[in-house]
């Protein structure tokens, strides 16, 4: 779905910023959006003390939520409203308080209304800490309403 003459990367940015502002659940993560484009999103967050589980390491659920949020940004970035349907995650190492994590989601393939994304979570040194495959489906309609189009 094109929004008049708007550049796809600019549209993606506008969509993701709108999503970020609108979704109440994202506030907890306090993430910083680094880059977005069609089928792509990248963000950063810091592991706070209230992200730790009972073993004193970052809760896997929050690593997942971080990756899943960036995936959500990427799969809505073409203004086709989409939701995740299934995901798998593999944790490569334990993550400590204070670490800065980056998650990058890339669309690998789109087929019909479905798409597959690869999401990689890395640490401060660029080493991988978790990997996710996530599948999305378009729910119909656009994410940004037509009247918000600048064209």
């Amino acid at each position: 779905m094109t929004m008049g003459s708007e550049d796809p990367k600019a549209l993606a940015r506008r969509i993701v910023e709108t999503m970020h502002a609108k979704g109440r659940a994202y506030a907890f993560l306090d993430l910083e959006i680094l880059d977005v484009g069609p089928g792509h999103a990248k963000a950063r967050m810091k592991v706070r003390e209230d992200f730790l589980n009972s073993h004193g390491i970052c809760h896997g659920g929050l690593i997942f939520t971080f990756a899943d949020t960036v995936f959500g940004f990427a799969c809505n970035s073409r203004n086709e409203a989409s939701v995740g349907t299934s995901c798998d995650i593999t944790y490569l190492r334990q993550v400590a308080q204070g670490e800065i994590l980056t998650a990058e989601a890339k669309e690998i393939h789109a087929f019909g209304r479905g798409a597959l994304f690869d999401i990689v979570v890395t640490d401060h040194d660029g080493e991988k800490v978790a990997l996710m495959h996530a599948r999305s489906v378009q729910t119909g309609g656009s994410f940004l309403p037509e009247q918000e189009s600048p064209a």
Copy 2:
């Protein structure tokens, strides 16, 4: 690992309550523990407004985090310290604000230091809303230190 003469179900309860109190990340979910036993845990939570994503439905990451937390309780319930290594989740329907979800984790199989758990998330009517398979590995040592043993 046995803790003297303590009943396995009582020990599991004590471990999970300790975990719940100790892990800062669980507070956000505000969950209620319903039942625990060796290789088993069940809890309930309510979907608040700050669980919603930009589509106005419950963030999949929080459904995952809920399921993953209950899985974490179950896989530490025999006092063998364990962490999740990989998980897959399938979402069966969208979840709305105000819904009460229940997650139940059951150990399906243990092999060496590894184990596989099945986690089912259901709604107020007992209908399934998400399913997870999760794999854990023992990290060595116990969750509760020996000196806390009542035996």
Copy 3:
């Protein structure tokens, strides 16, 4: 899709027997169909010498293919032509030559054109050896053509 007045279980049986006869790839497995019904299928096979990998144990790919075949039977059993879209499998133990395996696929949930199945592979003693989650999508049309309908 109903086929006139035919009983759903009888229709499922007729579909699966037709699938089994028609799909050339199933011959290698030499499986025996034990039970079928709407959203359900169960079959048995024996691990032959030509199922073994270089470690001298049953190739995981063949355990998967067995489970996937039974899943394929189950997801077409209502005469809505369907294909698998993604699967995850966990192997619980190694399987030796000569073992008799049973795979049972059950539909857990259907949503729109998609469905989720749970497939359990067990050994001669009913112990689980592998677990699979598999997702299907209807491709449109029926598996058995209308003219084959007995109604």
Copy 4:
């Protein structure tokens, strides 16, 4: 595990050729090994008529088995005997008889005795047709016995 002064890539090649010759189950696929190295393997196969399921397309189980075989080569390529523990696969499109598929497995991360591999299956034009994440664990011991070492 080093085998005297043998080059890691030459050792990997020797291991995979030995595996390929030894595992009876690989014969059905009739695959051609294209490249191997430490933590890496790549092979090609042709979709025959006896690979087709009842829909007349390549059985997903055989695409999985192909990918899983190449993964097995890659995870044993350092002469640490290893087996797969869990995998997930996503099919990106249907595959027809006569197509030539290539599968490439790469080790993404190793942690303790475990490792994670990414396996990509592509068609004649290099387009992706299936993606797999697979996890392995070392079982102890080497794949090639010491007396076979050339050093």
